[in-house]
């Protein structure tokens, strides 16, 4: 059972001339959610398409459940449910017709299809929409049907490509909890360019930048990277820069306006405490203080520079 559900070895893919992904290695455990994080165009979708057999890689090997995707695509694909970036819906069909069709495409035995479709509908909350035409559903429900088609054949691995893209905040929350539910029984990989989403959902995180994996570890390890190292401070009576630099841990001070400044620091977050104490002591009249979360781009920069 310890064998990973997905094993990717030295995966590279080239679109005509330029490499979209290069030398990707990863393993994905049999349960839990793995987040694939990366900015737009980093290679997330390419990786996922290859993983699901929708794209044939230029180099490297993908094993699904120990089966080589290239040699036995039919067997390997049976274990996968895939939701591409745009849900692959036939808008002229009803929800039921669509899900039955998807189940048949996954080569489910006919007598099991009824139950499987029913289950998937209940799980995704589209049970009462069975006879609705897909084109009459809202974006959030379409996404749910998209997820339903990915789990209808009870695959061991579900791959979701930016599942919350284009949804409103309420729908995003719903879809997130749905993903969590699904992951209870199987491995889920999902991609996103939103850092907080990945932090919220995943146990493990793989970060892709420029077609290469720049980070792959547990979410706890990742959080260490994301720790803030700057804060916005509003002082009614700001001192000179040199004075601020005297506070232990401060590395740099930028004045944004007369009273507003950004303070960069290193080390732990106890700096906030020290800063407040110093402000009281010297009468700097601290009004506001807030930690700045590092932007994703900076983390990417940071991580890729570390890698090099």
């Amino acid at each position: 059972m310890s064998e990973p559900i997905v094993k990717i070895e030295k995966l590279s893919h080239r679109y005509s001339r330029s490499w979209a992904i290069r030398d990707i290695n990863m393993e994905i455990p049999r349960s839990g959610i793995v987040g694939l994080l990366g900015s737009n165009g980093a290679g997330k979708s390419t990786t996922m398409n290859i993983l699901c057999g929708a794209l044939n890689q230029t180099e490297g090997t993908v094993y699904i459940n120990g089966i080589n995707m290239r040699d036995h695509p039919q067997q390997a694909k049976k274990e996968i449910g895939f939701l591409p970036q745009n849900p692959p819906l036939y808008l002229d069909l009803t929800v039921d017709e669509y899900l039955y069709y998807c189940a048949a495409l996954r080569r489910m035995p006919r007598h099991t299809i009824d139950k499987a479709v029913k289950e998937a509908k209940v799980r995704c909350g589209v049970d009462h929409f069975g006879s609705r035409l897909l084109k009459n559903l809202s974006g959030g429900y379409r996404q749910r049907v998209g997820i339903a088609q990915a789990i209808v054949h009870r695959p061991k691995l579900v791959v979701l490509d930016e599942p919350t893209n284009g949804l409103d905040p309420n729908q995003i929350i719903e879809v997130r909890s749905l993903i969590r539910e699904i992951a209870a029984e199987r491995a889920v990989i999902f991609s996103s360019h939103i850092l907080s989403e990945v932090q919220l959902l995943c146990k493990e995180i793989k970060m892709i930048e420029n077609g290469r994996i720049v980070f792959a570890d547990s979410i706890d390890a990742f959080n260490n990277y994301v720790e803030p190292h700057s804060m916005l401070v509003h002082l009614e009576n700001p001192p000179a820069v040199a004075e601020l630099m005297n506070v232990q841990g401060v590395t740099k001070v930028d004045f944004l306006s007369e009273r507003q400044l950004r303070i960069f620091f290193s080390g732990d977050q106890e700096i906030t405490e020290r800063l407040v104490v110093a402000s009281v002591q010297h009468g700097w009249r601290l009004r506001e203080i807030s930690l700045e979360k590092t932007a994703l781009d900076e983390i990417f920069k940071q991580l890729s520079s570390q890698k090099n």
């Binding site: 080239r14 929708a54 695509p73 067997q75 694909k77 692959p88 017709e97 069709y101 998807c102 495409l105």
Partner: protein
């Protein structure tokens, strides 16, 4: 033990194909469902029905008018079936010539819709083989085609019950031809739909491809090997023969081959969508499909290998039994037919290399009963009677100058044309006035077969049969002409 293993393997193979078949049918059913959920399928059916109806009733009215006018004598009728259904203005002819308008509209969305909406990824990521998708889609189209055939059948049945002694066989073979043509067009449409995510572009490409297949038979007809290929690929006239009631295995194979080519290309095109193979590999695959199909087509049209089925009541597409017998009497000895075409003659176009395929087509009815008729074509230039155009128009020019001028205008390479000296060494054609003539050789005998200055130009069955008879008779009867009142002169006239 091995027998049992083989049995187990066979049964697992059987289950596999059963599952595959089920999946293909499932895909077909879903495709049909989508088709009929959209208004286009219904709309086309209705338009088609109306078109057939207008045509049928117009022709029926014309027949009725003629009956009324001709009164008791019922003149000018050959066959009402022919008139209403199969003739140049008949239902089938009309429907087939407008078919290229219907099919692209049906097929344009087949794959391009999937490419456009991204549902192709669902298919790619499912444990479905590409050929299952393609076959599924194609079967859906075959079923819809069948619906169109049924619509035409409504009129065929109506006509069949109304017309006395209707040519049922011809109408059935016409229906078959219609269906095969539809199937071929659908395969083309399916492939075009794989090429682009824009449905309209797919439709237009299908128009263009059908157009190319209709005109390809006329291009490069002067280049020996290519001429065979392009002429074979031409879709024009293939179904027309079935309208005339003649089903030949070569024509049926042709339609199957078109389906094979375009379905094969579709499969590889879709496969290449999920691969990044070198261009060379892809190109080789496409070429292999086309080449294997052409080879198959070539084999199927070798004279001895073609089967025929004349569905007409009176076997009007076949040589008459008497002529069949004459052809049969030639036995296994090859018959060599050499056509001599004079560049300066008005019938040179019959022997122009560009019309070699029509030359062959004219001999096809005979090839059906004797497969070793060897056809040859020789071009030369020599003098023509002054009454002929070349003689009249260009008085004073030498033969060489005339030949130069004619070869340039007719776009014929003079190097392929024999000079008067060369041709005279080969054969004496002065008795034929150097007109276009075919020289028939069989065993050690030979005779000439001429073309005529009448409407048909080409010798009819009777003339050809007579020539073949001449070959078979060791001594020809002498024909005597009585001349004058009292004197009797005998001249030898062949």
């Amino acid at each position: 033990m091995p027998a049992r293993e083989a049995g187990a393997m066979l049964s697992s193979l059987a289950t596999l194909t059963r599952y595959t078949m089920k999946l293909i049918l499932k895909i077909a059913r879903t495709e049909l469902r989508t088709l009929f959920y959209s208004p286009i399928a219904w709309f086309l059916m209705i338009v088609f029905l109306i078109q057939c109806g207008i045509n049928y009733f117009a022709e029926m009215e014309a027949v009725a008018r003629n009956v009324a006018i001709s009164g008791a004598r019922q003149e000018f009728f050959t066959s009402i079936t022919n008139w209403v259904f199969l003739g140049l203005r008949g239902v089938f002819h009309n429907v087939m010539s407008n078919l290229y308008l219907y099919v692209p509209l049906l097929t344009m969305s087949l794959i391009s819709r999937e490419l456009n909406s991204g549902t192709i990824k669902l298919l790619y990521s499912s444990p479905v083989r590409i050929y299952e998708i393609v076959f599924g889609k194609y079967i859906a189209m075959m079923v819809y085609s069948l619906v169109l055939v049924l619509i035409v059948s409504v009129f065929v049945i109506a006509g069949g019950t109304g017309i006395q002694q209707a040519e049922t066989g011809m109408m059935l073979s016409a229906l078959l031809g219609f269906y095969l043509l539809l199937c071929a067009y659908c395969a083309i449409g399916l492939f075009m739909s794989c090429l682009t995510s824009y449905q309209v572009v797919a439709a237009i490409s299908t128009f263009v491809m059908i157009g190319i297949l209709s005109y390809i038979g006329t291009v490069w007809q002067d280049i020996g090997f290519v001429r065979e290929l392009t002429y074979y690929l031409s879709i024009r006239g293939r179904a027309q023969k079935m309208l005339a009631g003649l089903i030949s295995s070569a024509d049926v194979t042709y339609f199957l081959m078109i389906v094979y080519i375009f379905l094969g290309l579709s499969i590889y095109k879709l496969k290449s969508g999920m691969e990044s193979k070198p261009v060379m590999v892809k190109a080789t695959r496409y070429l292999a499909i086309v080449a294997s199909a052409l080879l198959l087509g070539y084999c199927s049209s070798i004279p001895g290998a073609v089967g025929y089925w004349d569905t007409t009541y009176h076997q009007t597409n076949t040589l008459t039994p008497r002529v069949q017998q004459i052809v049969k009497n030639l036995g296994d000895e090859p018959l060599k037919v050499t056509a001599y075409a004079n560049l300066l003659d008005r019938y040179f176009y019959l022997g122009n290399p560009r019309s070699f395929n029509s030359y062959k087509a004219r001999w096809e009815p005979y090839l059906r009963f004797k497969d070793n008729i060897i056809l040859d074509n020789v071009m030369y230039y020599d003098s023509v009677p002054v009454t002929e155009a070349a003689g009249r128009r260009h008085e004073g020019k030498s033969l060489k100058e005339l030949a130069d001028q004619y070869s340039k205008t007719l776009n014929v390479d003079l190097a392929d044309v024999l000079t008067p000296e060369q041709i005279r060494k080969q054969i004496d054609l002065s008795g034929e006035n150097n007109r276009y003539v075919m020289h028939l050789q069989w065993k050690d005998r030979s005779t000439f077969l001429r073309v005529y200055n009448d409407m048909h130009i080409w010798p009819g069955e009777a003339e050809v049969a007579a020539a073949l008879q001449r070959l078979q008779q060791a001594t020809l009867p002498k024909i005597a002409f009585v001349n004058g009142v009292r004197t009797q002169l005998i001249e030898n006239v062949s």
